[in-house]
């Protein structure tokens, strides 16, 4: 079994198609939608965690790409601007998956991208605009 966090970018013509249910029914994948958004230009953005057998996962993602949906790993979409971060730790207690973490010895904050679920709580909690989600 494999687990992947990905972002789907839908062009307008795919937005109204039942894509996710296909992934579940035809490819036997478990899909956890973390975030969904349709822009005013009717492009869709979906943040998902997909779990399934490696082959099924590859086939499912291939099917999605064939439809014209752009697929990218989630980590690229959440940014921690280290130069803006003051290591105040305001973000660490509200980050559900502990992607924003503090080394208790040095009191230095770091961002573990692979844990991030793009919930966006850190965006509001950071007083220095050191966190950004690109959607």
């Amino acid at each position: 079994m494999q687990k992947r966090r990905v972002v789907f970018n839908y062009p307008p013509h795919v937005v109204e198609q039942p894509v996710i249910s296909k992934l579940v029914k035809d490819f036997d994948l478990t899909v956890n939608i973390l975030r969904a958004h349709i822009t005013p230009k009717e492009e869709g953005r979906l943040v998902l965690e997909i779990t399934g057998k490696r082959q099924a996962l590859e086939a499912g993602l291939h099917y999605i790409k064939e439809l014209g949906v752009e697929v990218q790993p989630l980590a690229q979409d959440v940014k921690w601007y280290e130069d803006r971060c003051t290591h105040c730790t305001a973000c660490v207690s509200i980050c559900p998956p502990k992607a924003l973490e503090v080394n208790r010895m040095t009191m230095e904050v770091s961002f573990k991208k692979e844990r991030c679920i793009a919930c966006g709580l850190c965006i509001s909690a950071c007083p220095y605009r050191a966190m950004e989600i690109l959607f």
Partner: protein, 403 residues
Amino acid sequence: MAKTIEEINEKIKKGKVVVFTAEEIIDFGKQKGVKKAAQEVDVVTTGTFGPMCSSGAYFNLGHTKPRIKLGGGKVYLNDVPAYPGLAAVDFFLGATAIPEDDPRNKIYPGRFSYGGGHVIEELVSGRDVRLVAMAYGTDCYPRKSLETYISLKDLNEAVLFNIRNAYQNYNVAVNLSDRVLYTYMGMLQPRLGNANYCSAGQLSPLLNDPYYKTIGIGTRIFLGGGIGYVVGSGTQHNPNVERTERGVPKMGAGTLSVKGDLKMMSSKWLRGTSFIGYGPTLTIGIGIPIPILDEEILEYTMVRDEDIWAPVIDYSESYPQMISEPLGWVNYKELKSGKILVQGKEVPTSGLSSYFKAREIAQILKEWIQMGKFFLTKPVELLPSVDSGIIFKPFKERPIKKR
């Protein structure tokens, strides 16, 4: 044997000064013993880097041709209103000022992404800022409007002037209600979802000199990456609060008013800051050297996070309604561990004051002193302490009767 500031400065000049940070002195003092450590150590450096709303800066523009009198008119810097109720080309910009067209909390919670603190950061980083001014015009100052770019180097004076900073200890904020709160202590999650604190603890300046035996009017300090001075006690300076046996205040107590030349400062240590649902402010780096004049002063600087206690306050009811009944007391060692116990529940903690940066400031100040770049000053007068009789009063309202 007691030392004097003059003797310490002589050692700085000769490159023989012994300096420790307020963190390093804890173990050193314990190993050596107070008596020996007090003889060997000359200076202990402190640091803090946190949001400080009672901050601001004043400026002198230089006279325009023809002349304009901003006093009694209006001044905006990148749309943020400054206070011009002074002479012709002087004005003051407060850290929490916001553009008039900012929606504030009308769309709740407001973002407050740009305010006075951000203008100060931009100026210090050398960027151009838009100044728009309106005046009423007089015979001697006929001009009525001005729209221009300004930058720090063009101004005659640009001075950071904070009326209250470096709070000696502070509340730990929690939320007992069922909804998210947006406060100056950050976002507080419902039902004790998190606890936010704001002090550098064992590195914090006034917690290392709890009775203000060395810090006073004229003390030279690290301010925003440059050199500044303590002007005096800050507003709300309140030495007469409950203290531990070692004299450490158990809640917000002393404060400092500080000033310094903005042109010497760096945007690394002056940061525009936005609290969602609350407003903009300025985060400032302050470092204060403590001369080890005798054993008593050394012992104060050996204060540890576990010796410093802070009250846990509910910001859904107690704080806004002025009911100052704490839910309990926690120390900074617990706060920095990442979780505390409140009403039997484990609550995750976050800081608003950066301990990481506070340590860096104490280290920089230590190096400045060791390199002979920074000399200590003897205060003209010490800050009012526990014998001052200061009473911190809540406001007494006297409603105006309508006729």
